[in-house]
């Protein structure tokens, strides 16, 4: 079985936000909910870098650990999914997640949280594959069609790679060896002169 992983190559990401837009469109997520976002540091300065981030589908997922109703599960592919029928919108997964992945549609007054929504690695939810309920609640299930997440497919510079962890790291390692430009050996500039 594969172990699905995301990788964002900061040397390539140009902050075009195509991944964000592709995801929003593919899953028709509600207004205010963004399953993916791009974060730029030193914006507008020399050395500006960006990374696209969504749910990272952690092995020991913090959201899963703190959920009071235990609505999360990890698929055989290592994708962390949740059951929206069980979610009570308490917000605990948001408190625990380091990546800010859990999203809440606002439901009712004073910012009351609705059912949590997050990146599914384009893997749908617990409902039957390609069913109307699955589409409504979790968006499209591309994994069941044999396809990979659309954000990575759409990435114009192929900065964002998604798929089986072994293949993703092979791709990235090859890229690092071949590419020109700034060396990847961190600290060597400072440490060595020959």
């Amino acid at each position: 079985m594969a172990r699905m992983k995301f990788l964002c190559d900061e040397e390539r990401c140009i902050e075009c936000n195509a991944c964000v837009t592709a995801c929003k469109n593919e899953h028709e997520v509600p207004w205010g909910v963004n399953r993916r976002r791009v974060v730029t540091m030193d914006d507008g300065l020399p050395g500006e870098k960006s990374i696209s981030v969504a749910c990272m589908h952690c092995t020991d997922a913090p959201c899963q650990a703190v959920c009071p109703v235990d609505c999360f599960y990890t698929t055989d592919d290592g994708v962390v999914l949740h059951d929206k029928d069980m979610c009570i919108g308490c917000g605990y997964c948001l408190y625990a997640c380091p990546f800010g992945a859990p999203q809440y549609p606002q439901e009712g007054a004073f910012g009351a949280r609705g059912k949590m929504d997050k990146c599914t690695f384009c893997g749908g939810g617990p409902e039957e594959d390609h069913s109307h309920e699955e589409l409504e609640k979790y968006g499209r299930n591309r994994l069941a069609e044999g396809k990979l997440p659309l954000c990575a497919e759409m990435c114009s510079t192929k900065a964002l790679i998604a798929g089986d962890g072994d293949i993703v790291s092979d791709l990235f390692r090859n890229r690092v060896i071949r590419r020109q430009g700034r060396q990847e050996t961190w600290g060597w500039d400072t440490a060595y002169q020959d």
Binding site: G32, D42, K49, I51, P68, I88, G91, F110
Partner: protein
């Protein structure tokens, strides 16, 4: 060579050697110079490492996706929150509640009910007015609902899911969450009116110290003096005031996400909320025990508002004396 000449040579070489020791290491400056040119070069860093340095330092960047903390790539304190909530807070919290229950049960088996030492006189005096009783019971019922629903969120996954199943517990937890969020602010109103109304009875003094030294008459045969409220009741009042207000304020932070409070504030508030709630719950168990099965005649004071004079004489002698005096002065 004469001896004096050799001595002179030796001291000269010594001085030369010392000079060399101090000066030779400084020859490095001949090749590098004293200028700051090299420091300028050292400032050119790897942007990739800069990125991660900023991210791990919780620096905020820019994101086209607007919203609360969307420009923060990684927020690390959630890991601490998770570890503390799932670990020590949940573990020691359950120990505290469990031990309180066990101690109360054992105490009841050993001491039994604190009974009236003198037979009832049949004559009653008013202890709590209708208004006071209304505040007490509204706040008390809200406290119990909030304690049960709140603990369901902390321990339900461990205790209730095996009983009701995932979907059954989730249906209950949804209602519990809403009840907790809606009734919480009401409890705060009840607690504040309790603090305002009973503040005047709760100044601590030496009588209360003696009351505690005699274990409030619960252990042994002593009948320590007490005013309208005894030392124990006063301590319960001050716990509710201090811990209760912390509980309410942190509850408000959690209840209203529309003010865009950041996750770190929420995490700290949540932990404070859970700890204060568990402490107050175990205190409340003690209060409920003493007010019901622990003391004969205590509950009727808060239910009917009136207590028997025999009870008042035994438990709150100074208050009774005061009542008698004011009555005498009225009639006289």
């Amino acid at each position: 060579m004469t001896l004096s000449k050799r001595k002179k040579m030796m001291s000269l070489t010594g001085i030369l050697m010392l000079l060399a020791i101090f000066l030779l290491p400084m020859t490095g400056y001949i090749s590098t110079g004293f200028a700051n040119e090299n420091e300028q070069q050292a400032k050119i860093t790897n942007p990739k490492s800069d990125y991660w340095r900023l991210v791990r330092g919780n620096e905020k960047g820019y994101s086209a996706v607007k919203g609360r903390e969307t420009n923060e790539l990684i927020q690390g304190s959630g890991q601490n929150w998770r570890a503390l909530r799932n670990g020590p807070v949940a573990t020691y919290g359950s120990w505290m509640i469990g031990l309180t229950l066990a101690v109360l049960a054992l105490f009841y088996l050993w001491r039994g009910k604190v009974e009236l030492t003198h037979p009832r006189t049949g004559e009653t005096v008013e202890r709590w007015s209708v208004k006071e009783r209304r505040i007490h019971w509204v706040t008390a019922i809200l406290f119990i609902i909030l304690a049960v629903t709140g603990m369901s969120l902390l321990y339900g996954r461990l205790v209730l899911i095996p009983v009701f199943g995932h979907h059954g517990f989730s249906a209950y937890a949804e209602i519990a969450k809403w009840a907790h969020n809606l009734l919480g602010p009401l409890f705060m109103v009840g607690l504040l009116s309790m603090i305002i109304n009973w503040f005047k009875y709760n100044y601590l003094n030496k009588i209360d110290l003696q009351w505690f030294k005699d274990f409030g008459g619960m252990i042994g045969d002593k009948h320590p003096s007490a005013e309208k409220l005894n030392g124990g009741e006063k301590m319960w009042f001050w716990s509710l005031t201090v811990i209760g207000i912390a509980l309410c304020l942190t509850g408000l932070v959690l209840d209203f996400p529309n003010f865009d409070q950041e996750r770190e504030v929420i995490q700290i508030s949540h932990l404070t909320h859970v700890i204060t709630a568990l402490v107050l719950t175990s205190f409340a168990l003690g209060h409920i025990y003493i007010g019901t099965i622990g003391t004969e005649g205590a509950l009727e004071g808060m239910v009917t508002g009136k207590v028997d004079t025999a009870w008042a004489e035994q438990h709150h002698d100074l208050w009774m004396k005061e009542l008698r005096q004011s009555e005498d002065s009225k009639s006289g």
